[in-house]
């Protein structure tokens, strides 16, 4: 049975331990990828490719509604402009039960506004190290 996404939380923290702040995200996503290395060789295959996993990598995107008073947006912006440490937590059900967390760098912080729309911020984060249970 499916689970509604509206309970999800994307959180950021300056130290990864305390003071986790909720991003006012509207369509966040977590992508866990990395390298898949082809080790197919003549000696040991039945006509199929074989592979091993190489380095892992992850990325997070979070389109958010902007507010000048929002502490989470301010923290992400400060981390980008100041090249400061940042940690993110992706909580699919809003709790740490199924959550994942890791250190990140801010790849881009894109602020935009159409005269007839809301002010929005599009944030993309790249993993900087391990992704672990929240």
């Amino acid at each position: 049975m499916g689970k509604a996404a509206y309970v999800k939380k994307i959180q950021v923290s300056a130290d990864g331990i305390t003071n986790w702040l909720d991003l006012p995200a509207t369509s966040p996503s977590l992508d866990i990828g990395g390298d898949v290395l082809d080790d197919t060789e003549l000696a040991s295959n039945a006509g199929y490719r074989s592979r091993v996993l190489g380095l892992h990598d992850f990325s997070v995107s979070a389109d958010s509604n902007w507010s000048g008073a929002d502490a989470a947006i301010a923290l992400v912006r400060a981390a980008k402009l100041g090249r400061l440490p940042l940690f993110m937590r992706y909580l699919p059900d809003g709790t740490t039960t199924y959550g994942l967390k890791g250190a990140v760098v801010v790849e881009s912080f894109n602020h935009s506004g159409d005269v007839g729309e809301l002010e929005t911020v599009s944030i993309s984060l790249q993993g900087n190290g391990a992704l672990s249970a929240a």
Partner: protein, 221 residues
């Protein structure tokens, strides 16, 4: 809670204007800001001098430990407690006529510094560090037939862009993005039954004098 974008203030630079004996205010120990909020963006092409307001004796440039020509802020520890004024050329900014859409992208390079030692320790995950930053701005506007941005492009001149999201007044929480840019491209278009529009894309024109900044809670005196 969302903020409607129609309140955004999008401004660009006007004609550089000389100012003499413009008052400065000490906002913290040894940190001075140009008092008039409308005169804080200084020209990068014109010199400035800071002097004591009591007798106009100049402050030596060597005493200025930090100078932010985008926010009009100077750090002069030796001048703590003094009344100061500045002779300079400031850049007046005014709203871009007809602007109805913008985007500001703070990006740049992310460098992969993954190595054997750290990857073994962290379970085989890539690690990264920040490289060079870059900023791009795009602005769509209803054209007034003016060629201001076409002229910036043609004359290869820098243009100052200021973006204050979600605020039509200088309220405390309305942070402001500021920077010097080159107009990478500008295009005019208009369907026979529609408005004439202009789309302008700017790239950051970084230098060791001024790049890009975000100022939260800008002191308004």
């Amino acid at each position: 809670m969302g903020v409607p974008a129609y309140k955004a203030l999008i401004k660009s630079s006007g004609t550089p204007t000389a100012m003499l004996q413009e008052p400065m205010t000490e906002i913290s120990d040894g940190v001075f800001i140009i008092t008039s909020v409308n005169k804080r963006v200084l020209s990068l092409e014109h010199p400035y001098t800071i002097q004591r307001s009591s007798n106009q004796s100049p402050i030596s440039p060597g005493s200025i430990t930090a100078a932010d020509l985008i926010s009009g802020t100077f750090t002069i520890p030796d001048a703590e407690g003094m009344g100061l004024e500045i002779n300079a050329t400031y850049i007046p900014v005014s709203e871009i006529i007809g602007a109805n859409k913008y985007s500001l992208d703070i990006g740049g390079d992310i460098l992969d510094d993954t190595n054997f030692l750290e990857a073994r320790v962290n379970g085989g995950f890539r690690t990264k560090v920040y490289g060079i930053f870059d900023v791009t701005v795009s602005i769509d506007r209803n054209s007034d037939y003016g060629q201001k941005f076409i002229d910036y492009k043609r004359n290869r001149e820098r243009v100052f862009i200021e973006i204050r999201p979600g605020a039509d007044t200088q309220s405390e929480f309305a942070g402001v993005y500021r920077g010097w840019f080159f107009a990478e491209s500008t295009g005019l278009a208009g369907d026979i039954g529609d408005l004439e529009t202009e789309s302008i894309k700017f790239n950051l024109a970084g230098s060791n004098l001024a790049n890009f900044c975000f100022v939260q809670n800008e002191p308004i005196i």
